[in-house]
Symmetry: C3
């Protein structure tokens, strides 16, 4: 078990089985030392978190939704590393899309749910470049979608 797995256990985070896409795309692609991971939506232990943040959902609920995206990214990343999260060298970039109305301006607070998770799990290697933007609508009305680029050994 890598120290990253130990840290996940300390944080009481149980990685889900990484979800296989139902269409003609892949959950991740490895090219050189980089892993590109498909946009992960806010599926948590209780299913998909849906609705517009700042309207149907509070910011706090949005943060939890973004954290769920982050957990799903790490589950895919573990698969990309053939189960060994100790191979992760750096979280390079997260792209966070927040389902919201035109008057919502707190996308950064929401996406922090994913960003804080990466640092909690990977330490300094979890600090990443990111973009956080609003989206008028997301797949299946997901509250948040986050994709990512990672560097692995």
């Amino acid at each position: 078990m890598s120290s990253v797995d130990a840290r996940l256990a300390e944080l009481n985070i149980v990685l889900p089985e990484p979800v296989a896409p139902v269409a003609n795309y892949a959950p991740f692609v490895v090219t050189g030392n980089l892993v590109f991971i498909s946009g992960q939506v806010s599926i948590g232990p209780n299913g998909l978190v849906t609705g517009k943040v700042g309207a149907a959902l509070t910011i706090e609920q949005g943060i939890e939704a973004a954290q769920a995206c982050g957990v799903n990214l790490i589950a895919q990343l573990k698969a990309a590393c053939a189960g060994d999260l100790g191979r992760v060298r750096r979280v390079v970039k997260l792209g966070g899309f927040v389902n919201c109305n035109p008057d919502f301006v707190d996308q950064p607070k929401v996406v922090n749910g994913a960003s804080d998770l990466m640092v909690a799990v990977f330490g300094d290697a979890g600090r990443h470049a990111r973009a956080a933007v609003g989206a008028p609508a997301l797949p299946l009305d997901a509250a948040v979608e986050v994709d990512g680029v990672f560097e692995i050994a």
Copy 2:
């Protein structure tokens, strides 16, 4: 003629002349083994497909629009490979933006128009990471815009 060109011919896909941007950006940039291709809008044989998917356009029309984006990506990719699509090693990542209203939730179905095309043309090498999100508006009212990252030899 590469086997990829043969496959395009089997699919009755005629690549358009890759469109040169009218502004200070490039259709693609090659860095190392990666090709970053600019967002391609849904220009098909009959011109630009415009309007919001799920409103002015049906999902089926949206899928065709996404396929047109995919054809345009492959046209640019061929130029990036100096005409030899046999050099393509992997479709790494597609970013799909669907012009839609706030109540539209079928972005994945729409972007499958581009994803399915990649697998039809490149086989297993066409399976890619992707994100599919909604956009409130796209350039020139395009129905879909898709950008991409590819690995070439």
Copy 3:
């Protein structure tokens, strides 16, 4: 002083102190020869430019906002190069998000504010792949957000 710094001076562009994120993410991450820079919002000399382009803001004001994003990207890029912009080999990709209403279709004109700046500053090395899309809302109501990928020596 690199020739790029000289060119910035000719253009009367003063790079701001690169802003450190207030959350658990980084302004940039270097992986191999690539630098991924976080989405930079339209903070100019007079503060954050806010509002929807084509509504609260004219297209011309949107272009200036995108240019401000570009200046902020270059400031982060300089930090990523330990102060030596002569190490920049290529602007690889810009991702431009324009805060707008659903009927706005001139995202490319707006994002040209950042694209033209890159070519003015870096010459041919400034020509990049890009995507330009609309967003219903951006952080702190920023008018424009642009992230980027760059190649450095």
